[in-house]
Symmetry: C2
Subunit: 131 residues, 2 copies
């Protein structure tokens, strides 16, 4: 996942935009949020994540876990048993992140209808999305 946004030498209001993107880049992937939330309830194993986060492939689960771990949002605990047992836990930083996302959740709930109305209107005026 990309992290090439340096935020240098840009206008004042675009700098704010850039700070927001910093946060979004950590959570923008298709699966990050789902994993983070599942791991917020307490330690959770790889296979359990695979079940709880619906539709995720093994590959994307691994990749997303690695990125979240690298960013310090997940802690990875390996138990050297056989068969192996690896547990993931959301760090305090990730918990805080989720709380910040609540505002966004509420926005989405408040405007869910408004948005689909806007879309319907747009698609009526212009050509429908498919057709």
């Amino acid at each position: 996942m990309s992290q090439g946004n340096r935020c240098v030498s840009i206008q004042a209001d675009q700098a704010r935009a850039c700070t927001v993107r910093e946060a979004l880049d950590r959570v923008g992937g298709k699966w990050s949020i789902g994993i983070l939330i599942a791991a917020s309830q307490g330690p959770i194993r790889f296979t359990e994540l695979e079940r709880q986060v619906e539709g995720i492939s093994r590959r994307m689960l691994t990749l997303t876990l690695r990125n979240l771990e690298r960013d310090g949002l997940l802690h990875r605990q390996v138990h050297p048993t056989v068969p192996p047992r690896v547990e993931y836990t959301a760090t305090p930083m990730a918990q805080e992140l989720y709380e910040s996302l609540v505002a966004l959740t509420r926005w989405a709930e408040r405007h869910r209808e408004g948005i689909s109305a806007a879309r319907a209107a747009y698609d009526r005026e212009h050509g429908a999305p498919v057709g």
Copy 2:
């Protein structure tokens, strides 16, 4: 930009995740935020956006504008003069969205250092990103 997340028949905590993604999908693109913020200051023309949102291509500007308009986040006002004059303005819904993003901004600022420290540590333990 994708909108294939239907949020049906999933576990309770993953439903929350899905609501968050609803909001993120509207703002997840590389350019949405920059455009939204620029258009929050008042009506702004196509070419001005092209200048203020640094690095954006003509194509992506057009595409992102269309999506934001369709979602009801931007209002598009055409003045039928010659040469043409088109102005974009953030809707109240978009203004609210930005306010919700403030929490996220603050999170990013608070943890900017923590994150890059985590990355440095990770890259030290495992192989460096390029190496």
